[in-house]
């Protein structure tokens, strides 16, 4: 009996070590990379002991020496702000549009409900390449290219299906009687949504927002094609560490570390919600 227990505990410990090894080690390695100079990074065998430098972070945040123009924010800080505006704005807009739509889909008894919902989801799996060139053409013609509004609109392709789909499940989870009670109490559909349904689904909304935010934040292609120098997001900023002949690994690692901070804050703060949101309300 005891040996069985011992073996089982050992197996668990081993599984945890493997888990950490596989999922955490790369992060640690990237972090170490961000503290090395290029020579330490490329040296082989790999260096675990080295004299750390904050140069990469300094350069990431302040920009390379001599490139900062007076009165201008450092490039990478601008990328971060751009991403905050774009992803934050995209998520807010998606929630604003998506919640009423999700509610109508969940409770409106609309005909073809499932098909409409599926159509929304199907935009999630449209290959970006399919829409990106026509979108660029339209954007440049109507002046949305390289604007925050344009970027926020384009990110609806990422955020809106997610929000609608997740919120729909959460709304369906609210007991129908509560809603009936509100209707009999004389509340309009809007008041019911605002005063009754939304507060109950608060955690669902939070998780939908975080997930949409992470997906939006990590997106590359829209930023590559539809953003210009004024709205360039942080993913493109990280890629600036790639020159034509070499990748400045230290800079890239530092930039990636810095860019993960907002998501990390949001995720830590609302981690319970993230789990629930990912199941799209399937947890009862």
């Amino acid at each position: 009996m005891n040996t069985v227990k011992l073996t089982r505990n050992a197996a668990h410990a081993l599984a945890q070590v493997l888990f950490i090894g596989f999922f955490v080690f790369p992060i640690i390695w990237i972090f170490m990379m961000s503290l090395k100079n290029f020579r330490d990074i490329i040296s082989y065998p790999p260096k675990f002991l080295f004299s750390p430098t904050l140069q990469n972070y300094r350069e990431t945040i302040q920009g390379a020496e001599g490139t900062l123009r007076a009165g201008e924010l450092p490039e990478y800080v601008r990328f971060l702000l751009n991403s905050l505006i774009i992803s934050g704005g995209a998520v807010c807009l998606a929630v604003l549009l998506g919640i009423p739509a999700a509610y109508a889909l969940a409770r409106g008894g609309l005909p073809w409900r499932k098909h409409i919902a599926f159509t929304f989801l199907s935009f999630r799996f449209a290959p970006e390449l399919m829409v990106i060139l026509p979108m660029y053409l339209i954007y440049t013609q109507i002046g949305l290219y390289d604007t925050y509004v344009g970027m926020i609109l384009s990110h609806q392709l990422i955020c809106l299906p997610l929000v609608i789909w997740i919120m729909m499940s959460f709304f369906q989870d609210v007991p129908i009687e509560i809603e009936e009670a509100a209707r009999i109490d004389g509340a309009s559909i809007l008041l019911t949504l605002r005063a009754v349904i939304l507060p109950i689904s608060g955690p669902g909304i939070a998780s939908a927002m975080i997930i949409a935010f992470i997906f939006s934040w990590n997106n590359l292609i829209f930023g590559l094609v539809l953003a210009g120098p004024n709205t360039r997001p942080v993913t493109m900023g990280i890629l600036q560490a790639m020159t034509f002949d070499q990748i400045k690994w230290g800079l890239m690692a530092a930039a990636a570390m810095v860019s993960a901070v907002p998501g990390m804050i949001a995720a830590t703060y609302l981690q319970r919600h993230i789990t629930r949101g990912l199941t799209m309300g399937a947890v009862r």
Binding site: E180, A182, D185, G202
Partner: protein, 348 residues
């Protein structure tokens, strides 16, 4: 406050019949109970009155208004749900006040009415709490207060007591009765518990398979069941129903022979006898003969199950009765006995 009338109301879902051609008038200030087993259409009927279901045919009026196509919020009715349906994120006061908020009642008037409604249901001390911090009985009282706070045209109550334990149910029953007396609003009350129906109702509507079996005061329903179903459903322990036939004014079957005065002949007939109407008999008085099958003591009486031929009946006898299983007994019935057509179930 006003009357409610349903005429020719039906509800179908595809081939499934919920309610069939129902016509019903609820008088102003009346307490009407819809009684029946689950699936009989009573809840559907009430939901149609509330506006939560749209009738397939027929019209519904509240007062003078035809409300058939109106939204629930335009009907001015209040409803109490079986599972309370409180708003979990709001305090008791906010819950009670929500109907007022929905109607745009002024803030200070809201407060006043919330307090008086809370007082009626004895919740004044709990106004700041969230529903999760309340007991079942307290939650149900919040739901009641939320219903009465805005003086609606009618109350609708959907099995409001069924989630409570037996003792709480009795005290809540008293509260509901008292509230109705004080507020005097027309009330439709749905239940499958005949005792609740008998104690609360001005009139009872017994329903079965989407149709009305009988409408009447509790007394009428108990004393003069219109059908075998009503007789069987109302009363506790429930009315004995024995099969047999009527020939020449005599109802008979194996072990049974009793006079059915003036009743026409029937090849198949059902006899209804309430357990409390049965007593031990000897000699010529005896109308039923059988053997004791089981005995249950209830304290104030003894319930004796007797096999009569291949049927069984329950007799409610004195507490000091000394019968034992397998004894043969002879029984007589009082005057409270009913004859029903064996085919249609209608009283003869």
């Amino acid at each position: 406050m006003s009357s409610i009338s349903l005429s020719g109301v039906s509800k179908f879902w595809g081939d499934t019949v919920g309610v069939k051609d129902l016509s019903l008038d609820i008088k102003d200030k009346e307490f009407l109970v819809l009684l029946g087993p689950s699936g009989c259409g009573k809840t559907t009927t009430m939901r149609m009155v509330a506006g939560l279901e749209k009738p397939s045919t027929g019209t519904i009026r509240i007062g003078e208004r035809d409300v058939t196509d109106l939204d629930p919020r335009e009907r001015d009715v209040a409803m109490v749900f079986q599972n309370y349906s409180l708003y979990p994120q709001m305090t008791v006061a906010q819950n009670i006040g929500f109907p007022l908020r929905a109607r745009g009642v002024k803030r200070n008037e809201q407060q006043e009415r919330i307090h008086s409604a809370a007082k009626l249901v004895e919740l004044s001390d709990y106004l700041g709490r969230k529903p999760a911090a309340l007991s079942g009985g307290q939650r149900q009282r919040v739901a009641l207060a939320r219903a009465i706070v805005r003086s609606p045209a009618a109350f609708l109550m959907d099995e409001p007591l069924s989630n409570l334990d037996a003792r709480l149910r009795i005290s809540m029953r008293g509260l509901i009765k008292r509230l109705h007396r004080e507020v005097g609003t027309s009330t439709i009350y749905v239940t499958h518990d005949q005792l609740e129906a008998m104690t609360l109702a001005d009139r009872v509507v017994v329903m079965r398979n989407g149709e009305v079996e009988q409408i009447g005061t509790p007394k009428e329903i108990y004393n003069d069941p219109r059908t075998a179903f009503v007789a069987g459903f109302v009363g506790s322990p429930s009315c004995n129903l024995l099969d047999g036939k009527i020939v020449n004014g005599v109802f008979s079957n194996e072990g049974i022979s009793l006079a059915a005065h003036l009743k026409p002949d029937r090849a198949k007939a059902t006899l209804g006898i309430r357990p409390e109407a049965i007593s031990l008999a000897d000699g010529a008085e005896a109308e039923l003969h059988g053997t004791v099958f089981a005995i249950e003591m209830t304290g104030d009486a003894t319930l004796v199950t007797v096999s009569v031929g291949d049927q069984q009946l329950i007799a409610k006898l004195d507490a000091d009765c000394t019968l034992e299983p397998a004894h043969t007994v002879s029984l007589k019935t009082g005057r409270r006995r009913y004859f029903f057509d064996g085919e249609t179930g209608l009283a003869i």
